[in-house]
Amino acid sequence: MLGQGFAVLLSHWRRHKLQFAMLVLGLALATALWSAVQAINGEARASYARAAAVVGQDRLEQLATPDGARLPQSTYIALRTAGWLVSPVLEGEKRFGGERLRILGVDPVTLPADAAQVNVGAADIGLQRFITPPGVFIMSRETAERLKGIDTPPIRISDALPPGTVLTDIGIAQQVLDAPGQLSRLLLAPKQPAEVRPLAQVAPGLVRRAPAVESDLSRLTDSFHLNLTAFGFLAFAVGLFIVHSAIGLAFEQRRPVIRTLRAVGMPLRALILLMIVELLVLSTVAGLIGVALGYGVASLLLPDVAASLRGLYGAEVPGTLSIRPSVWGLGLAIAVTGTLVSAAARLWRIASMPLLAPARPRAWSLASERALRLQAVGGFVLLVAAWLIAQFGAGLVAGFAALGAMLLGAALILPLALSLLLKLGERLSQGVIAQWFWADTRQQLPGLSLALMALLLALAANAGVGTMVQSFRLTFVGWLDQRLPSELYVTTRSNDESQKVHDWLASRSDAVLPIWNTEVRMFGQPVQVYGIADHATYRQHWPMLEAAPDAWDSIASGQGVLANEQLARRQKLTLGDMIPLDGGHSLPLVGIFSDYGNPKGQVIVGVGLLVKLYPDASRLRYAVRIAHDKAPKLAEDLRGTFGLPDENVVNQATIKAFSLKIFERTFAVTAALNVLTLGVAAIAIFASLLTLSGMRLSQLAPAWAMGLTLKRLAWLEILRSVALASFTMLAAVPVGLGLAWMLLAVINVEAFGWRLPMHVFPMDWLRLFLLAVASAILAALLPALWLARRAPADLVKVFANER
């Protein structure tokens, strides 16, 4: 009996194949997008964890110099001889054939167990080989692929290492990095002997640092990943709308069947159970398809994401996706759970339905005005909440919460707003058909409201993000011109070469400006310290947001400091605040400048001061000023004279293009997700229209009987869809603007630390409007065509005496 009942239930889908397809497709797409985002995020996070775990820096304490400069090996020996259980680490970057690698040198003999990720004693490496030149480079498979054909010491593969990082012996590392007798830091074994001479006595220049439980990288990229996650949720929510409508229709259409089954003697409980099983099977199948699709989407997007992360944060994320069962399993679970939750209300109603209740599909679509009003009230409450959070909340989570509340609130208000608009249309219209058109559309509204809310969200997201991106681009391009005013940018390869190049250039150009820098920890975060020369270039071009009147003079005389917007915001700095530099120096803040795209704080001092306070600062880069047309020749000559590789002498246009490219790639991901979300919303509308088309017949039949041709009625259907989409687009504009404002003024500031002015781009909205209308027409086309092709017999059936 169960089997037969199940067969009867399933037969419904055989007759309504398109409905079935919509249900599966909607759920699959939603799951795909959500899973794709989760997979990308998961891949990145695993990579950060690996990077963080490298040499146990997330578990072990470290000893290092306060400014991060290298320390002499003799300090290590002194500590050891005093009884400290420490292990040396040397870290640095080196290019091999154009590929930049992070070299990590360790001493496997003294390395604490917590930090030993690779078994150096293993058969294919061997301690002897590891420590004897040329040594062994241990790296991940992907990094090894990048180095194919390039001359390096022998390579061994270990997947415990993050991409771009190479593990080798400390002696070998010292050779490769040209740092004889130098170390970057010392790892402290978890358990130190009780009686050791205090650190201050043995190695007074070192500080003790707690393990970096949350890596800098993970924190920096949090906002990026939060963005992606938010999109994933949006897509899934829209997809669930589709599922909800499809299930709703199926249930209503099957009421007679259910009634019959029960009348024939099938127990209610068994029936409910069968329907749950049916939903489980459907959602599992759709979920599996979705997960597979998601994998494809993630694989397509990951290279762009990886490139963005590398360009923005220097984070190394593999460009290929590894299969993580947990992510995909979670996607499937969410698909099934979401479906069951969507269907829960309907199942409940069936359970409490009296045996012989007549089928009333019309009742399903007719919701009272009151319900709409209640919903709108809820929406207003959410909008108010959003405003309150935006005013008084702080932090990225609060920002996204406000954003979510605003979007949801707007969506909830939409049906009432549309209803009012339609009522207005009815009142203003003259002809009988026009009047009927508006009234009938209003009657349709509840059935379409979910899909329209989804459309609103998708349109607003598109408009909002589009506005943000365009504002960004506009400002960014202008800002780039300010930040990169010099014609040539030169990177030398050693301090020695740096001096020679400087002297050579000095006589051949208008100015040679040093771009010397180091990175320190200030206010508990990584902060770049740059030293600049006193030159008109800076005074004229530098993008200052706020500046004391004699700011540049202070810088030049080594008595002032500039900070970038990010740092100023994070630490709530104002002009005049004292900034702690190395060696106990503190200088007042004399200016704040904009620094888009930089996740780190940055501080600028006079170059003389930089060299004095941080003698180990990198002195390899210069900006060269020369007449535009003379720049290429100078670059040629420079390369030729010093044998500098192409990428070490770059001109301005190239750098700008590169910066823009990174920027474009970052938002390409967002754009892709935007388009996909819009597509899902369009499908939602289509699904809803399809849902309603069955019922339309009984609603349209009277009008047809009274003398309206089917063709006319079909055109009206299309027009109805266009009208609704247009109104929704109208509503989406203010919501989109609100979204853009929140993104620029709240989210971006919290996430990145800099704020962009907002510009409006009406042409973009027009384009979006046309897109919305086109989607509406497409969505309505098929149902309208079917309507027009109906045989009179079908319509007449509506008037049949037996229902």
């Binding site: 009927w436 009274m706 003398g707």
Partner: protein
Amino acid sequence: MLLDLQDVSKSYPTGEGVLQVLRGVSLSLDAGESLALTGESGSGKSTLLHLAGGLDRPDSGAILFEGRDIAGLDDKELAAFRRVRVGLVFQQFNLIPSLDVAANLAFQARLGGRFDAAWMARLTARLGLERLLDRYPEQLSGGQQQRVAIGRALAGRPQLIFADEPTGNLDEATGDAVLELMMSLLPETGAALLMVTHSMRLASRLGRRLHLAAGKLG
């Protein structure tokens, strides 16, 4: 002769094959006449009504309205025919749920461009609908809805009124009252009435009676 059906046949495809509903039926109707069609369920009387009203086309035979065969009209012309010449009253009332009573009453008349405010007012009064004009169909009782349906059918002063079991969903007293109203309004419009009913009692209230059995008039 206003309406002349000549040897009309109609069949429908069903799951078990083709069902022959009407086999060569002929009838005629004059202006101002009222004709009752009776028969068992399944005898084809509703089908006959639908064909006569231009809601469907016969397989064979002719349906002449004022001498013209409406079976040969295309969709647009049929629609026009129904708009202007025909008023329909159904068992399920079939009012337009999204319009209020006033709009429902005026709907067909305005569609056909035959709206007459004075006539509308008179109809409204005669049907006792004055206080219900801004209500919606779902708020009305069965009898009230049917009265609106009748009003809608008569508002455009069509030449033909087709009623399919108009009292079927009403209790006896209400049904009688509704029918009484309709019959009393007919002479004012000069329309001909073709009514399908399975009740002999009601059928006897009309001028003529025809009986359908198994697709044939008997």
